[in-house]
């Protein structure tokens, strides 16, 4: 698509509002190419910022994380960034702050916790709880 969609008239739209995910014909195996290396179309949801729904955010502590990939599997919005089976962080452009990643995290203490959206990540990491003893409540 050479022209930006914002400059297009009704007569230039794709019939039926069909949305193309990629700029050109895909001649590679999508599963083997990382999202940042794919040529997404301008209209793809990857390019739309939808993180402003969020009021609380998950913060990731890389020192506790065991790279189990549970959060990556359960995230309903593909907002956990993982590369070569290693956790890399949270995609705050698309994360809605649902907290599923935190609830499925198996470590002690949890390596993902929900914090207020306005809290800075480094401040949140400084407040991280200690390891809990056996029998102590997880909450």
């Amino acid at each position: 698509m050479s022209k930006s969609i914002k400059d297009m008239g009704w007569d230039e739209l794709v019939p039926g509002a069909a949305l193309f995910s990629f700029e050109q014909t895909v001649n590679y195996n999508i599963a083997e190419v990382q999202p940042e290396d794919r040529t997404y179309a301008e209209t793809n949801s990857k390019n739309a910022y939808v993180g402003d729904w969020r009021v609380i955010k998950p913060v990731w502590n890389s020192e506790i994380c065991i790279d189990c990939q549970n959060c990556w599997i359960f995230c309903p919005d593909s907002s956990i960034i993982a590369r070569d089976k290693e956790m890399k962080g949270v995609d705050y452009d698309h994360c809605k702050g649902c907290g599923i990643c935190v609830s499925v995290c198996p470590t002690n203490p949890k390596s993902l916790l929900m914090f207020n959206e306005t809290e800075k990540n480094e401040d949140a990491l400084a407040k991280w709880p200690e390891k809990k003893k056996k029998g102590e409540s997880n909450e």
Partner: protein, 408 residues
Amino acid sequence: MNSKQMELNTVEVWDGNMANAQALRQAAVDVVAAYPITPSTATVENYASMHANGYVDGEVIMVESEHAAMSGCVGAGAAGGRVATATSSQGLALMIEVLYQASGMRIPVVLCLVNRALAAPLNVNGDHSDLYLTRDSGWVSLDSFSPQEAYDMTLMSFKISEHEKVRLPVISNQDGFMTSHTAQNVRPLSDEVAYNFIGDYKPLNAMLDFSKPVTHGVQTEHDWHFEHKAKQHAALMASKEVVKEVFEEFEKVSGRKYNIVESYGMEDAEVAIVCLGTTYESAILAVDKLKEEGIKAGVVAPRLFRPFPLVEIAQTLQNAKAVACMDRSAPGGTVGALYNEVAGALFNTSARPVLRNLIYGLGGRDMTINELCDIYRDLNKDAKAGKLTGKIQKLTGVRGPELSFYEL
């Protein structure tokens, strides 16, 4: 084309449902998803028996409701298949939601609609209530008046629907029982000629084309919804020219000529009726009878119900002095839809004839040639007087004292 062909005679005795089923078979439809309902049951029944006997290569899908039937068609169409279904009345009412999806997503689907009354009271007979239900759904709507025409229209529906300028779903209408269950002589095309006329289906943005991933049925808010609907409307309006082209091509193949507005006796007609469906053929006989009496009568029937041929209707009616718009649908608290549309067509012309609205034949009640003659004689009084001699709307053929509304 299907691998196994059927040897057809030059003339076959088919009812409207069989004509539909044969057209679907000859078009080599990939998927037929249907939930049979009277009077369109036999369309799918016949088709399923052809499938069972090996004359159909495509799939017949069992679904749990009409809503699922149309959803199956939309899904199969989005995946890149040629799809069709058949329904009537309550079944269509259940499909309505998905009808808008199909036209909005610009998926070619052919729907063989056998017109029937809408409940309550429950009624299985012919009436145009369900046809009117599809008015604003964004589908191209063709009307046929006999089994022969049902066959021809259904065949042509595929070509119109899949045309690159259109890419919209098409409804092929016929009257419940009056054509769907009336066996008549039908001259079919051979399988080869019919398939070559329609051609192979070339899907656009098919979901099963993995080299070009595409999302169908997206959400658009105030930012783009208007533009997409504008594009859909433009395609629907432009489909009129495509329909004309397809009619011309079909004439070359079959020798049968169709117009987007059919008329009889309109060259010198002073009184005319506008109607849909089988009433057109009865009215032709009435017109012949009245010409002998010296009444200059004519009849007009839009072959194309959507997009509505507004200008063509106005041109056809330009010499008429009194016109009756016949609506075979329960009026629902206003004048009939056909009256509204014809009135809209004539309002901007210089010769504005007197317009009447007649509600008739609800739930399959007969409209006989004698009754049509009486309607023409009433119209002739209006034409002589130069104004309406009664109220605008009248329910003709209803028992009891006369029922009429809207006095000027």
